[in-house]
């Protein structure tokens, strides 16, 4: 029989998320699944409403990309009562784990740690003052990626975060905040930039160039997501490293769901996606070409 699956997406606030939506739709189509898509415009209440509507509609399963970790117990319980399996995408929730079937996510803290480790290795003990572009204040990627990075560089006294300010995950704020860093700290005193996502890094690269410095050389740049534009920058030597957050969370999620619905196999509670590190050693131009049509 045809499967109907509801997908509650946070919104389309970044290129990465748009890509995730595209990929999810593609995956569903590939498998002949009827995907009900609900965009929550970045609001949790809309996601809860969407979930409840899915339940009322009697879908076979629900994919949920939760905007925030807390606050899902009640509605997940309702889904459980209605015997609708829920799979979490790209972020997990703070609810008892019997309320959802599985979570397909990367480990946000791990991503930050990879970035920190990479920088620590790259500097190899040389003194380095780091500036940090945080994500939207209060969002879980911003909190976890900050935490992971700090863990990653812990124990290296040569590495210091000298400034940290939010760039709201956007290119333009990334650029604006980087401009002020360059003035407040002095471009020559900044050795590396860590950005919580690639978009902010792309904006910051422009600010660095406009200040007459060479991004990637004068200031090392490491960021997270692996969106096409950062690979382009890396191909030009203007950025140094990115950690991939795959937009294909739906693939493994739907695999697990299909298996469960077919014969009741329960998947593991956490399907972790790879947080792959890309550096200048990779063929960034090829990656760019491959990714650029994914809807980023």
């Amino acid at each position: 029989a045809d499967l109907t699956i509801g997908f509650s997406q946070i919104g389309s606030e970044s290129g990465w998320r748009a890509a995730e939506t595209t990929v999810t739709k593609q995956e569903a189509e590939k498998r002949g699944i009827d995907l009900k898509f609900a965009d929550a415009q970045q609001k949790q209440e809309n996601q809860i409403k969407a979930l409840r509507s899915f339940i009322a509609q009697g879908v076979d399963a629900i994919l949920l990309a939760p905007v925030v970790a807390t606050g899902w117990d009640e509605v997940l319980e309702e889904a459980k009562d209605a015997e609708i399996p829920v799979v979490l995408l790209d972020r997990t929730v703070d609810a008892p784990d019997d309320l959802y079937m599985t979570a397909v996510t990367s480990d946000l803290v791990h991503e930050g740690r990879v970035a920190g480790k990479w920088l620590a290795d790259e500097m190899a003990g040389a003194k380095c003052d780091i500036v940090e572009l945080q994500g939207t204040t209060g969002s879980s990627p911003a909190i976890d990626r900050k935490k992971g990075f700090e863990e990653g560089i812990a124990g290296n006294d040569n590495l210091n975060i000298v400034r940290s300010q939010t760039g709201d995950f956007t290119r333009s704020q990334g650029k604006v905040v980087m401009e002020s860093f360059l003035k407040a700290v002095g471009g020559e005193n900044i050795c590396a930039l860590y950005a919580h996502n690639d978009d902010m890094a792309v904006g910051a690269i422009q600010a660095i160039k406009e200040a007459g410095l060479k991004p990637g050389e004068d200031i090392k740049i490491v960021s997270i997501d692996s969106v096409p534009d950062i690979h382009l920058a890396m191909a030009n030597g203007e950025a140094n490293a990115t950690i991939e957050l795959t937009p294909n969370m739906a693939g493994p999620a739907l695999d697990a769901l299909e298996a469960y619905l077919a014969d009741g196999t329960k998947p593991a509670k956490w399907i972790q996606t790879e947080s792959k590190l890309y550096t200048l050693k990779d063929d960034n131009m090829a990656i760019y070409e491959m990714k650029k049509d994914l809807g980023y």
Partner: protein, 346 residues
């Protein structure tokens, strides 16, 4: 003429004083604040950043001042920025010249303004709701154009509008100053300014005096859409990409705030574009204080809110009146016409 300069100066005096105070605050948190250097072919310094980063708000508040003068409000400017940026980007990505892209974006902005204007002036829908429609839907339209992605482009002509310089001065600065001067000149050297004020104060009377209020109201929304489009192009050009979701997000609130800090009444009537522009610079200077202070970002909003409340309280009619009394206690005029008139219903 000199009387005219004098009265303009008196009008913008409070805003100037506040601007200087906030700039001084910047100086306190960052002593190099006023240093400007010439580096790599461009002026480089925090003061330049304030002028440059203030460009989108400044452009928005030119149109917004006129809209507010007619007793209206335009909540859609942020969304229109996103649409215009998306249109410009998609045009150059499709291989058109930057001139075509700019014109296309401005035309789309003007159309958005026209839509708002018709809703307000012809269908008589209250401005807040009328423009709320485009505020909600506009970002969707922009994403429709970019298909949800950040549409990046490499066209140097277009990029120059946002990130380039002319004789060392960042282009956005020149654009907003030029447009500000142009619009001010147009409304003040012609009768437009007075007629717009008349509509804002009493539309019924103005119409009976033979003023074509509908066309004028549509025009101010059109200008607002145009300004928003220009701001949208600059913002997109600045980051070499159209970010439909985030471009101009909540910037309408900054623009309205700038107009109010500029001492213009939200109830319409008398307006000063110059004062609004200074208002925009004040807001940008406040942002600058936050960035330069190095405080953790969770304090950003509280700091901004407190500074703004302080500014607004100082500017409120009641406090102004009290100051006026203080200042005038030596002079024979015992009360302020503005305050007294507020008490009078007639």
């Amino acid at each position: 003429m000199s009387a005219h300069v004098h009265s303009t100066f008196r009008r913008i005096m409070p805003q100037l004083i506040i601007l200087i105070a906030v700039l001084f605050l910047n100086f306190l948190v960052f002593p190099d604040f006023f240093r400007i250097e010439f580096q790599h072919g461009r002026l480089f310094g925090n003061l330049i950043d304030v002028l440059n980063r203030g460009a989108p708000t400044a452009l928005l508040c030119i149109g917004m001042t006129l809209v507010i003068a007619t007793k209206g409000i335009d909540l859609s400017v942020g969304a229109v920025m996103a649409i215009a940026g998306a249109v410009a980007a998609s045009l150059v990505v499709d291989g058109h010249s930057w001139q075509t892209a700019l014109l296309g974006a401005l035309a789309v902005g003007a159309i958005c303004g026209l839509w708002n204007g018709v809703l307000v002036a012809v269908l008589r829908i209250q401005p807040i709701v009328a423009t709320l429609v485009l505020m909600v839907a506009g970002r969707g339209i922009a994403q429709l154009v970019t298909e949800g992605t950040i549409l990046t482009f490499v066209n140097p002509g277009l990029i120059h509008l946002g990130a380039g310089t002319v004789i060392g001065i960042p282009t956005p600065i020149l654009i907003w100053i030029a447009l500000g001067l142009l619009v001010t000149a147009v409304v003040r050297k012609t009768a437009l300014g007075m007629l717009i004020e008349a509509i804002g104060i009493n539309e019924s009377s103005s119409r009976l005096a033979g003023i074509n209020s509908r066309v004028l109201i549509v025009s101010v929304y059109l200008i607002s859409g145009f300004c928003a489009a220009l701001a949208g192009v600059i913002v997109a050009a600045d980051i070499k990409g159209a970010d439909a979701n985030n471009a101009g997000l909540w910037l309408e609130l900054d623009a309205i705030l700038a107009v109010v800090i500029g001492g213009n009444s939200l109830l319409g009537g008398r307006f000063s574009i110059l004062a609004s522009l200074i208002g925009a610079l004040i807001i940008q200077s406040v942002n600058s204080v936050i960035l330069l202070s190095g405080m953790p970002p969770e304090f950003n909003l509280v700091i901004k809110a407190l500074i703004i409340i302080a500014i607004l309280v100082i500017q409120s009619p009641t406090v102004k009146h009290a100051l006026y009394i203080l200042r005038a206690s030596a002079e024979p005029l015992p009360s302020d016409p503005i305050k007294e008139a507020k008490e009078s219903p007639q």
